[in-house]
């Protein structure tokens, strides 16, 4: 019996199996300011999904005021309130790192119908 898997399976809380690479998502993140807790929304394309089990992460990329911003979120993090999938994307790669070199219309992902 692999005890590492046992420990991981007990701590896994959310897997978000419907969040796939190429999707446009809204991640609702819990932000703590002093004693207060509020929700911040980070939206963008999922450009990578890495790792497995408890250590799995997703990378969300957005362009904010002309500057590319990427956030790497541990999928199981308690700091994620929930993730909404807005659009599914039609893609031909597992990792969409090529988006970093593109701007404007070229950086768009076709919607999967």
């Amino acid at each position: 019996m692999d005890l590492v898997k046992v420990v991981e399976s007990e701590n896994i809380r959310n897997q978000y199996p419907d969040v796939e690479v190429g999707d446009f998502v809204k991640a609702h993140l819990l932000i703590k300011e002093g004693a207060k807790e509020r929700i911040q929304v980070f939206e963008g394309y999922v450009i990578a999904r890495k790792g497995q089990g408890l250590s799995e992460t997703i990378t969300i990329r957005r362009v904010s005021y002309g500057i590319g911003v990427e956030r790497i979120l541990p999928v199981n993090s308690p700091k994620i309130d929930h993730i909404d999938v807005i659009r599914k994307g039609k893609i031909r790669r597992a990792k969409l790192y090529y988006l970093r070199d593109r701007q404007g219309k070229a950086a768009k992902i076709t919607q999967k119908i």
Partner: protein, 208 residues
């Protein structure tokens, strides 16, 4: 020393703490230990408690050990270690992880580090390498062996290439994240010596 457990390293993973931050965690598999012998100052010259864990075929046990297993009335054990107890344990008593450690305890973990084979000075002693370019032709070599005719020999203890790793190693002051006595799970924050499946001993820390 009061607390002690023998385990095998199962592997590492990541967990989340109360603030939601990721922490590195090592899972140790700790089967119950059984007391094989209580050593006393009168009979043995020092106080110790001998414990065993992990099963082994009776055929593979030597006669002195077999006698002790019989005396303590326990199945033959593969791994046998001693520790200095504070409280008294009775012969043949079962000791679980949960009897020894609780969440939040500070511990030292000892084991045999991973063997690295024959390594050069840069990896083995952390020395700097030579320049890579400009015709230096001096990349990963040892460096000076010392002065010339005085003393006329290489000083003992000179750092040189050789076998690295596979030595006893202790990591101090790690904290316990999770304890499960029934399934024999001990989770510790941080890394511990040795490969997966390697035998480690966990004690309460000397730095407390």
């Amino acid at each position: 020393m009061t607390k002690f457990i023998i385990g095998r390293k199962s592997g590492m993973t990541q967990l989340f703490d109360d603030n939601g931050n990721v922490i590195p965690a090592t899972v140790i598999s700790c089967e119950p230990m059984y007391v094989l012998q209580n050593k006393t100052v009168e009979t043995d010259g020092y106080k110790a408690c001998k414990v065993g864990t992990g099963s082994i075929r009776a055929k593979l046990v030597n006669k002195p050990d077999a006698g002790q297993f019989k005396k303590a009335d326990v199945e033959p054990k593969r791994i046998i270690r001693e520790f200095t107890p504070d409280e008294e344990y009775s012969l043949g008593q079962e000791i679980k992880v949960s009897d020894m450690f609780a969440v939040g305890d500070k511990v030292d973990v000892s084991g045999v580090s991973k063997g690295k084979g024959f390594q050069g000075n840069i990896k083995r002693h952390g020395q700097k390498g030579g320049p890579s370019g400009h015709g230096s032709m001096y990349h990963r070599r040892v460096g000076s062996m010392g002065a010339t005719s005085t003393p006329g020999r290489v000083v003992p203890g000179k750092k040189m290439p050789g076998h690295m790793g596979a030595v006893n190693c202790t990591v101090q002051n790690l904290s316990v994240v999770m304890v499960d006595g029934e399934r024999g799970i001990l989770v510790i924050r941080g890394a511990i010596p040795g490969p997966k499946g390697g035998i480690v001993t966990v004690q309460n820390t000397v730095k407390a």
